[in-house]
């Protein structure tokens, strides 16, 4: 990968003059010393407010039913599934950065992998709520689990939703494990540096007795490698599975073999977008510019561009296939996407996911963090719209013209969307104050290595 970017003047991946001590001081300082600022409190307050709306929405949903959303027959899925796919896709990007780059020994990832991994865990956790709450009877979601039922009932294994259930669970477990294992040395650092007794006990318990022995390090290395090795295929399998939720159906617009790679591209695309959206303000908020450098932002922006081009190719390929097939239902569906009442969805998707990312070809844009932030936000929005387009414009006019119908979201549709954003941000903000947001031990290693190279 380094060859791809070799022509660019090499910016440092860690600020000059950083050493093990400075790394440890500034990263653990965020957790242990930095006073709770107004900006952080304000952000958390805002996020909690959204979370509150989410909770109210959940209560109302459990009381009244999914009819509080704008769903209908034929459009029986809409925002909830869109949100689900969107969130789980965001998680993908994080895993890809932390795991795939770990496996390929990209050491510059050291300063963003924690950020990406925690983002993954929270995004997957939030996404996991939607398949449950979108059920007509959410309290029976465990029926998807093959527990020993006295009536000998098992799940229906041919359904992609069943496999989706497993995919989410597996993904959540692996990403939590990956995050946690990777944090162990840092938790021990925090334990050792904590001034207050209670904090020391808290981090001490979490550190699972990490003492920094060589044996510990050896085990850590092998477990991390194993988990990374598990995570990388999971990135592909989970999102392929998500894609099969749609392509298993015979709905025009869903029934397509291109979906799994197409969804993976989309997942990486939005995942990189979310990393940027989180990293750019975060480095400011916690003064981590020395570690989350311009180089990082630029590289992730490039990755986002690459993923974007991949997904744009998928769009083109999908559209081509539709017209090449001459299937009357597919052609009608595609023309509807271009020109129908939901054409704005398609064209907005194109604007955000195809047109605007072309700016990232320019280094000047990549260096401008405001621009990158705005583009990344646009990518997140575009990818959300794309999922909504895929779901709604495929369903609202399928085979029987007599059953065609429009979808109009209600207040509660938006409450769940923004509420889930609030929940994610709340989790993230709290996590950022409790846990080291950058991987100290890896950064120390990196600083050490750089210092050695530079002499």
């Amino acid at each position: 990968m380094s060859t791809v970017f070799s022509r660019e003047p090499q910016l440092p991946v860690i600020a000059p003059g950083e050493n093990a001590l400075s790394v440890t001081r500034s990263v653990s300082g965020v957790v242990l010393k930095l006073p709770v600022g107004l900006r952080w409190m304000g952000s958390l307050g805002f996020a909690m407010m959204l979370t509150g709306i989410f909770l109210v929405g959940i209560c109302w949903l459990l009381y009244a039913g999914v009819g509080i959303w704008g769903l209908n027959i034929p459009v029986a899925w809409a925002f909830a599934i869109t949100n689900y796919v969107w969130w789980i896709a965001i998680g993908m990007g994080g895993t890809f950065i932390s795991a795939a780059m770990y496996v390929t020994r990209q050491d510059w990832r050291a300063s963003i992998n924690r950020l990406a991994e925690s983002m993954t865990v929270f995004a997957v956790a939030v996404s996991g709520l939607f398949p449950i709450f979108h059920l007509g009877r959410p309290w029976f979601f465990y029926w998807l689990f093959p527990y020993p039922d006295i009536m000998d009932l098992w799940p229906q294994w041919r359904s992609s939703l069943e496999w989706d259930f497993w995919a989410i669970i597996a993904y959540l477990i692996v990403s939590i494990a990956f995050l946690y294992v990777g944090m162990l040395p840092d938790l021990a650092t925090l334990r050792d540096r904590a001034r207050r007794r209670l904090l020391a006990i808290f981090y001490g318990l979490l550190a699972l007795g990490w003492r920094g022995e060589a044996q510990h390090w050896r085990r850590l290395e092998s477990v991390t490698l194993m988990l990374a090795g598990l995570s990388v295929p999971l990135v592909f399998s989970v999102h392929s599975m998500v894609a099969l939720d749609f392509s298993e159906g015979l709905v025009p617009g869903w029934h397509s073999t291109i979906f799994p790679p197409y969804f993976i591209a989309g997942a990486l695309f939005s995942g990189f977008g979310m990393v940027l959206v989180l990293a750019i303000p975060m480095r400011r908020l916690f003064g981590l510019q020395a570690y989350l450098t311009d180089r990082h932002i630029s590289v992730i922006a490039k990755l986002m561009l690459a993923a974007g081009l991949w997904i744009d190719y998928s769009y083109a390929s999908e559209i081509f296939t539709v017209f090449y097939s001459m299937d009357k239902f597919d052609v009608r569906m595609e023309m509807n996407r271009f020109l129908g009442p939901y054409a704005w969805l398609f064209w907005s998707t194109m604007a955000f996911n195809f047109v605007q990312i072309q700016l990232l070809w320019f280094e000047r844009v990549r260096r401008n963090h405001v621009a990158v932030f705005v583009i990344a936000l646009g990518v997140l929005y575009g990818m959300w719209l794309e999922r909504l387009m895929l779901i709604v414009t495929s369903l609202y006019q399928d085979f029987m013209p007599s059953a065609w119908g429009m979808f109009y979201p209600t207040f509660w549709d938006f409450a769940f969307l923004f509420g889930s954003v609030g929940l994610f941000l709340s989790l993230y903000l709290v996590f950022s104050r409790l846990m080291p947001m950058l991987s100290m031990y890896e950064l120390r290693k990196l600083a050490h290595k750089r210092n050695e190279v530079e002499g």
């Binding site: 009244a64 039913g65 999914v66 009819g67 509080i68 704008g70 769903l71 209908n72 027959i73 034929p74 459009v75 029986a76 899925w77 979108h134 059920l135 007509g136 009877r137 029976f140 979601f141 029926w143 998807l144 009932l153 098992w154 799940p155 229906q156 041919r158 359904s159 992609s160 939703l161 069943e162 989706d164 259930f165 939720d245 298993e248 159906g249 015979l250 709905v251 009357k328 009608r332 369903l395 006019q397 399928d398 085979f399 029987m400 013209p401 007599s402 059953a403 065609w404 119908g405 429009m406 109009y408």
Partner: protein, 1072 residues
């Protein structure tokens, strides 16, 4: 009041408040009491309780231990006895179980339900005393096994919690005893005056008992008057017969013998009296397979699309008065003299006239000319003359004595109002009518009522009339009371109650008996007395009850040789003369002088000029232009024509307004019926509202969109209504249905839609000319169940002409890319004991939607309300789709019932993660409600979109009446659960059990699905397709058989038989 509450005895039980207080004061701990009488614990109450409920009387004295013992037993019995007490007469407890009663199985009782007075025979399912479902009575001539939507909805009407539940006197709850006392006092008063000032208002009466009672009332009070109120236009057919024959003979059609049918704004397929029967008869003529390659041909000339128009091979939209002119010219062409002066027809009309005349004359004796109920009497008379001239009388049409009992001098509602205004009405008995709401605006009935000192109202609901009445009396529902009624052909039936009145109602017979001081006062006795002569012994009575018809009671057809039916040479116009209507008109028959062209020696029907010239205003310059522009309309110049008409419209082009009873809620009497409110209206698929139906051309000209509010002005009255664009509507015709805008209908019907009676006039209740509209700029939200009426080039409904069919019987599947069972990677379903399948004959379906509502009744399908329908969440398991084919001005409209296709390779089953939708060994695609978690993937993946989801808690879990109404074998679905058509699996299972007990296979025809049973045209066949001799297997063997969306490889078990048309080649070369 809950149905369990017994009626308290009138005497003996006094509520002694003092005693009650003392008892309460002397008691420690909580005292539970159910009624004030029990609280008082008087001896009278105990005695009464012992009389009513011997067991319960003792229970009051029981100790705790004894009570607990009983509690266990009563819990076990609660399900059996919870709902109602048996009728108070002939009470037979189940000491010995009735013969034929199997607990858990319904018993069926034959009775009749009436619509506009006419009987439709039904067999009502009774589950342990609860009527739950009406089926057609195969032995009844108006049913033949099918029913209309109203008969189905009667069940909900019976259990409607909004029904009137108590006698009210001046707005205060009263008792029947008080009423009887008051009625006797009134009766005594009228006995002195000979009934001066006593007026009775009823709907059309066919009940012999009621007729006899009214007759007795007239004899007892000779000065009293009886008026009949009919829904819009209902009098015209009657007056037309009077005009033609001098007698109000009733007309009976024999559509099964007709080869060429011309419907002049007539809609025999939804005729209130015999629509179900006529639909069946008509359908038999449409099957070339059964008629050796022949098929009838139906022409419809009508201003607004009707079911008959939908079924027609050719349909010509013409403004309402133009239909009459068209008929006059048609009459001239087939040798029936018609007045000169009608403008010669142009363009399309001329083609039509030639083609129709030729076709009618080629089928003399097998043709039929029908005139719509709201068309003027002279046109009905002309229709009779045409049928006579074509030799149809006695073959495709015959006449009988009037089925309805008619007042001696029926001045109708206008006469009544005139008398009211003149202060001549002292007491008005409004029996089963609601004139305060359902009366033309110009009568201003409510104001006229101020001159009436006493108004008595008997009705199912405390409606607009009941609210202002001095006495409002709750009426017993047709399923709660003894009565009788005649069918369209005069066949009489006894209506027997299936349940004691839920709300203390009485029948019209009982009320009248009280009023006339009859020595009998109980419904059964009154009806029995009426039939004592015809059914002298218990056996004949019981047989008549069991069969649902009184044998040989049909009124015989008047012999064709009878002088009354002597052929008419035609009609002639005589100078206008006031009052030439009704009985007077008959006096003109028989004059020897006929108009030019009348065959010598034939009598001529004379019509006053004033009558026939109602459309004189049409003879304006603009008219011919309109006709011409219409004739071009189908030729693809729609846009420019529309523009052209705009200009005309602004130059004062006349619009006309048709006022017709609503297709689903009638004249408003069904407004509180959720099933009917939510039943999509034919063609528009709107629910819960009426709309001003306008033609696409008018809408384009006035730049109106669906839902735009317009102000309708007619005869100085205005009404703001939203428009709905209906392809096939005559260009300048606006149709508005009556029955909406109820103010006092109940929770379901109040405030729905717009009150079209505000524009109705008594002189012309069905039609208004010179109507103007203005868009108000407001918009109204409609709730429709279908938004897209274009098939988009998909061959969902396949149709061909008779010629195509005879040339290539397999035309329907000739272009299929795949064989009926396209190749699949999935293994075939293993064969089971039976293979259930369904065949729907689109050639028979007339789109009446009886299947939808029958399914709703059978399968406990909830009503979701307008807002939910607007969101696309209606729950109907079988829907009837309409698609328009051809240009917007006069398309062909096809109907297609869509239940679950029961795919052998069901896409829904594949995607359910919990296996809540699975295949059974007999080919049913089952939905397991209690396993469903509600992912809704199955619905997304259903290409036919037949699955319905309980997005919210739709089923009513709290109203006891609605719980009692439900079919006990069918689960009530809770929210969050998917549901869909099951092929009425409960009926299949019942048959299974029966067959297993008798160690045999289920016979063909033993299982009828609800949609199949109700279908007036037998379009739906169901059964075991693995049995090659079964009806459904034979139907599927038809070359017309095709599977919808076959290319998806779903292998549906529900298949369709392609629709056939029998166009006249003379009219076919140009797009219709």
């Amino acid at each position: 009041m809950s149905p369990m509450k017994p009626t308290l005895p009138e005497t003996d039980v006094g509520f002694d408040a003092g005693a009650a207080r003392e008892r309460l004061a002397a008691t420690r701990g909580p005292v539970y009491w159910r009624s004030l009488e029990e609280l008082a614990d008087s001896e009278g109450f105990r005695r009464w309780l012992r009389q009513q409920n011997p067991g319960l009387g003792e229970a009051l004295l029981m100790d705790r231990r004894g009570f607990l013992k009983l509690l266990g037993a009563s819990l076990a019995l609660a399900g059996l006895a919870a709902c109602s007490h048996p009728p108070q007469t002939e009470i037979v407890p189940y000491v010995h179980k009735p013969i034929g009663q199997v607990d858990g199985l319904p018993r069926y009782f034959a009775t009749v339900l009436t619509r506009e007075g006419y009987a439709q025979g039904v067999l009502v399912a009774d589950h342990q005393g609860r009527p739950t479902k009406a089926e057609g009575n195969p032995g009844h001539p108006a049913s033949l096994g099918g029913t209309d939507i109203f008969a189905q909805a009667s069940i909900l009407q019976l259990w409607d919690p909004d029904r009137s539940q108590s006698v009210r006197h001046r707005g205060v709850t009263s008792t029947w005893d008080d009423f009887v006392a008051a009625a006797l006092a009134m009766s005594a008063r009228f006995a002195r005056s000979g009934g001066e000032g006593l007026h009775v208002l009823t709907g059309p009466v066919t009940s012999p008992t009621l007729a006899a009672q009214l007759d007795a009332l007239g004899r007892r009070f000779p000065n009293s008057r009886w008026h009949v109120q009919r829904p819009a236009g209902g009098r015209n057919a009657h007056d037309g017969a009077q005009l033609a024959f001098g007698k109000p003979l009733s007309t009976r059609l024999h559509l099964e013998r007709a080869r060429v049918i011309v419907a002049l704004d007539a809609d025999p397929l939804s005729d209130p009296a015999a629509g179900v029967r006529y639909a069946r008869d008509y359908a038999t003529t449409r099957s070339p397979d059964r008629n050796r390659g022949a098929m009838s041909r139906l022409y419809a000339v009508e201003p607004t699309p009707s079911l008959t128009g939908l079924a027609a091979d050719h349909r010509l939209p013409l403004a309402f008065p133009e239909v009459g002119r068209f008929a006059l010219q048609l009459a001239g062409k087939i040798g029936v003299a018609a007045p000169a002066g009608a403008a010669p027809a142009a363009g399309e009309q001329a083609r039509w006239l030639d083609a129709l005349a030729a076709d009618l004359q080629a089928h003399q004796g097998a043709a039929l000319v029908l005139v719509g109920a709201s068309q003027p009497p002279w046109l009905h008379a002309l229709g009779h003359a045409m049928n006579a001239a074509l030799g149809n009388v006695g073959k495709t049409i015959d006449y009988g004595a009037p089925v309805e009992a008619l007042p001696a001098d029926d001045a109708g509602l206008p006469g009544l109002v005139a008398a009211m205004r003149a202060g001549k009405v002292d007491t008005l008995l409004a029996l089963e009518v609601n004139p305060v709401y359902a009366a033309p605006a110009d009568l201003d009935f409510a104001t006229a009522l101020k001159h009436v000192p006493h108004l008595l109202h008997l009705g199912l609901y405390l409606d607009e009339t009941g609210e202002v009445a001095e006495w409002h009396l709750p009426q017993a529902h047709a399923l709660e009371a003894w009565s009788d009624a005649r069918a369209f052909d005069g066949t009489a039936s006894i209506a027997q109650p299936l349940i004691a009145p839920l709300y203390d109602g009485k029948s019209v017979h009982e009320v009248l008996a009280a009023f006339t001081g009859d020595d009998l006062f109980e419904g059964h006795a009154l009806v029995r007395r009426q039939w004592r002569a015809a059914l002298p012994d218990d056996k004949s009575w019981n047989d008549a009850l069991q069969a649902g018809v009184v044998p040989n009671s049909a009124l015989p057809a008047v012999a064709t040789s009878h002088p009354d039916l002597a052929p008419r040479g035609g009609i002639s116009v005589i100078p206008a003369k006031a009052g030439l209507r009704g009985p007077d008109a008959g006096a003109n028959i028989g004059e020897a002088v006929g108009p030019k062209g009348a065959p010598q020696g034939r009598r001529v029907i004379h019509v006053a000029a004033g009558e026939i010239e109602t459309d004189s205003g049409l003879r304006r310059n603009g008219e011919q232009k309109a006709v011409d522009s219409f004739s071009q309309a189908g030729s693809g110049k729609h846009e420019t024509n529309a523009e052209g008409r705009v200009a005309e419209g602004e130059n004062g082009e006349r619009l006309e307004l048709l006022l017709r009873p609503d297709p689903t809620i009638g004249d408003g009497r069904w407004a509180n019926n959720g099933w009917l409110q939510e039943l999509p209206k034919p063609l528009t698929q709107l629910t819960w509202d009426n709309a001003a139906l306008v033609s696409p051309a008018l809408a384009a000209g006035r730049k109106l969109k669906n839902g735009d509010m317009i102000e309708l002005r007619a005869q100085g009255r205005t009404l703001e209504v939203p428009v709905w664009i209906v392809p096939g509507q005559a260009t300048r015709t606006i149709t508005l249905h009556l029955g909406y805008g109820r103010r006092s209908a109940g929770h379901v019907g109040d405030g729905r839609g717009f009150d079209a009676y505000a524009l109705q006039t008594s002189a012309s209740p069905g039609w208004a000319g010179d109507v103007a509209i203005t868009a108000t700029g407001r918009h109204y939200p409609f709730a429709g169940t279908q938004h897209h009426f274009n098939m988009e080039g998909r061959d969902l409904v396949r149709e061909g002409t008779l010629a195509e069919y005879l040339h290539d019987p397999h035309f329907a599947t000739a272009h299929d890319r795949y064989p009926p069972d396209p190749p699949s990677l999935y293994p075939d379903q293993p064969p089971g004991e039976y293979a259930w399948g369904m065949s729907i004959d689109l050639n028979a379906c007339i789109g009446c939607k009886a299947c939808t509502i029958a399914c709703q009744a059978e399968n406990n399908i909830p009503v979701v309300g307008k807002d939910q329908v607007r969101m696309g969440r209606e729950m109907h398991w079988i829907r009837v789709d309409h698609y328009h084919v051809g240009g917007a001005d006069n398309p062909r409209t096809v109907s297609q019932p869509v239940p679950c296709m029961m795919c052998e390779h069901a896409p829904c089953e594949l995607v359910c993660p919990v296996g809540a939708t699975v295949h059974d060994s007999e080919g049913l695609n089952l939905q397991v409600y209690n396993r469903c978690v509600g992912t809704r993937f199955c619905s997304n993946n259903c290409p036919y979109k037949v699955r319905r989801f309980n997005f919210l808690q739709y089923a009513d879990k709290t109203t006891p009446q609605l719980m009692a109404m439900r079919t006990p074998e069918v689960s009530v679905r809770r929210r969050g659960v998917m549901e869909k058509c099951t092929y009425c699996i409960q009926r299949i299972e019942t048959a299974h059990i029966q067959a297993d007990k008798e160690s045999r296979r289920i016979r063909d025809g033993e299982v009828l699905t609800a949609c199949q049973a109700v279908c007036p045209t037998s379009a739906i066949r169901f059964g075991d397709i693995s049995d090659k001799q079964s009806g459904v297997a034979k139907a599927k063997n038809s070359p017309r058989n095709y599977a919808m969306l076959n290319e998806l490889g779903t292998r549906p078990r529900t298949t369709y038989l392609a629709r056939l048309r029998n166009p006249n080649p003379a009219l076919e070369d140009k797009p219709a």
